[in-house]
């Protein structure tokens, strides 16, 4: 990727990170850790990869995205807002009564959201359904989804993977946000899903392993995925809480909002990183 293009994406992602922190701080609730880990993937998808139109969010032949790890909603919302699906000011109404921005994505309320998710393991099945629909009814859109590495402890994920693998749904691309942490501890401590790559391979996927916080690697993986004749699982090694020093690799920031002091610190760090890029 050209340096300028990469820098542009990094700036968008930093702004999205600010949006995540601001919205969760305003809501006094939400999931910053897993939002910050997957926001680079979301940025790439919505700004470089997917065929979507903010002015026509229901466009029939658009590419689809399903946030199977629905609790990372603040990341999706921050990216959708920047992409122009709705006013960025709405981010400050996250989780408030009357807001379109529900605690977890709601396709009925939010322009650009293709599936309501939040109950782990379910989004990926819907993504498989969308991919199947495209094949069956002769549409050529692609379907992208992000799953958590804790989420794949859900049995339904493997039901979905078995179906997608057997049907060779090569229009389906799953990202596994492998930040290695879930609510009760590391994924190894809680109920290890490893080896993730071998599992998806066994279920009929082409598997790629990348640094999910690096735009070059995200781009490279998606380019490779284009040529695959099977569904693709991209295992994205990420840092939970990425971009905010005290949240990085810290399990206690899975589902907690920063207080005013920590909010200021987080914003100062992100703004400093942004200023460096200017």
């Amino acid at each position: 990727m050209e340096k300028a293009a990469k820098k542009e994406l990094e700036k968008i992602a930093l702004k999205a990170r600010m949006g995540i922190i601001e919205s969760i701080h305003a809501a006094k609730a939400g999931h910053p850790g897993g939002s910050l880990s997957c926001v680079d993937i979301l940025t790439y998808l919505y700004f470089k990869q997917m065929n979507v139109d903010p002015n026509n969010p229901d466009m029939a032949d658009r590419d689809r995205f399903v946030l199977s790890k629905g609790h990372a909603a603040p990341a999706l919302y921050a990216v959708l807002a920047q992409r122009g699906f709705f006013d960025e000011k709405e981010l400050l109404n996250l989780r408030q009564i009357g807001s379109i921005l529900q605690g977890h994505p709601d396709l009925k309320k939010i322009p650009g959201v293709d599936m309501s998710t939040g109950s782990l393991g379910q989004g990926v099945s819907a993504a498989v359904g969308m991919a199947l629909s495209a094949k069956h009814f002769g549409n050529d859109f692609k379907v992208y989804s992000i799953l958590g590495d804790g989420e794949i402890e859900e049995g339904q994920v493997w039901e979905a993977a078995m179906f997608a693998g057997n049907r060779k749904l090569d229009n389906l691309i799953l990202f596994i946000d492998n930040n290695n942490l879930q609510i009760d501890g590391t994924v190894e401590e809680v109920n290890s899903p490893h080896p993730i790559d071998k599992k998806f391979e066994a279920f009929g996927f082409d598997v790629l392993i990348i640094n999910g916080n690096d735009f070059d690697e995200i781009e490279d993986a998606l380019n490779k995925a284009e040529k695959c004749t099977k569904p693709v699982a991209i295992i994205a090694k990420t840092v939970k809480g990425k971009g905010v020093s005290y949240m990085e690799n810290a399990v206690n920031w899975h589902g907690a909002a920063p207080n005013d002091e920590l909010f200021e610190q987080a914003m100062a760090e992100l703004k400093a990183a942004y200023a460096e890029m200017e």
Binding site: S116, Q122, S125, L132, G155, E159, M162, F163
Partner: protein, 315 residues
């Protein structure tokens, strides 16, 4: 009088899918390895390219159906009631109900009349479960004719539909010219001493109860309540006002099913006695379906008994 033929409601369902498949191609049918039993196998045979078997994975099947529905296409998914409404309840709630997607769930083998398979397969709580999901339409046809017509009607609805079908062959109640309308119950016999509101295979029993009650000088009104949600409030309130006592009859738990739905309306709009006939908070067990219906008290004679009780409770 010509002999009444008996056909399972699931057969009407399977037949309707094939008929619909011939006139429209904007839908797919899915099953979870039970196509031969649910009767989606009829569709599979006719349209193999429009049928998807999800294997024994009902939760994923519900999610796939939801995903297809988001793309603007209709989906019909089938399994046994136990697994469609029971095992996959949360998928139906969160992936289909919450986004209000156009998924028709064809749930067969509902109720005690599953027979020999026993309690694990005799779903007596599906109506109760599905009724708690906002925006869910629930249809429980009385016979093969109504089942077939209800499938056509469900295809025209906006939002999720739970259709409840039985395994057992049951006598045909309706003529071919019967008009089915979602949300509209129909009065099959008029009367003024008591009203029997029945659903599914209990409708035929209710019609028999009408004759038994008549012989004893009791005038019963018989209502077929095929749509359990949204329930036909008007016909219930009218029956409560005009007959002053109600019996509900269903092949389902007395907790949360038709009896619950009718009671909710009656209690709030026009309180009169409502006596529920159904399965009384117990699991079923193996046995021939007909004998189980006798044993669990899901017969015309039981309706008669409940009707008398309801009348005795009138103030």
């Amino acid at each position: 009088m010509s002999e009444v033929k008996s056909v399972a409601t699931r057969a009407g369902y399977g037949k309707a899918l094939v008929e619909l498949g011939k006139i429209r191609d904007d839908f797919v049918v899915m099953d979870a390895d039970l196509a031969a039993a649910t009767q989606t196998g009829m569709f599979k045979k006719e349209f193999p390219d429009r049928f998807y078997d999800c294997g024994i994975a009902e939760q994923n099947m519900m999610g796939i159906a939801a995903g297809i529905a988001t793309t603007g296409k209709k989906v019909i998914v089938s399994s046994f009631a136990m697994f469609a409404a029971g095992r996959a309840f949360e998928q139906v709630r969160n992936s289909i109900g919450y986004p209000h997607l156009n998924v028709i769930i064809g749930a067969t083998h509902a109720g005690i009349s599953v027979g020999e398979d026993g309690a694990t397969h005799q779903c007596l709580e599906d109506i109760a479960l599905m009724r708690t999901i906002p925006g869910m339409t629930i249809i429980n046809p009385a016979d093969e004719v109504e089942a077939r017509k209800a499938v056509y009607a469900a295809m025209e609805l906006d939002g999720p539909v739970y259709m409840r079908f039985g395994r057992l062959a049951v006598p045909v109640v309706f003529d071919e010219d019967y008009k089915f309308e979602v949300g509209k119950a129909n009065t099959l016999r008029d009367g003024n001493d008591v009203t029997v509101i029945a659903t599914g295979l209990m409708v035929k029993e209710a019609l028999e109860a009408y004759d038994l009650l008549k012989a004893e000088g009791i005038s019963a009104r018989i209502i077929n309540m095929a749509t359990i949600k949204p329930i036909d409030k008007d016909i219930i309130i009218k029956a409560a006002k005009e007959t002053g006592a109600i019996v509900t009859a269903e092949e389902h738990s007395v907790i949360g099913g038709l009896g619950g739905a009718v009671s909710e309306v009656v209690c709030e709009e026009c309180p009169v006695p409502v006596v529920k006939l159904g399965v009384y908070d117990t699991f079923g067990h193996s046995g021939p379906a007909a004998k189980l219906l006798d044993e669990f008290g899901l017969r015309a004679v039981n309706i008669v008994e409940k009707a008398k009780k309801a009348i005795s409770l009138k103030r």
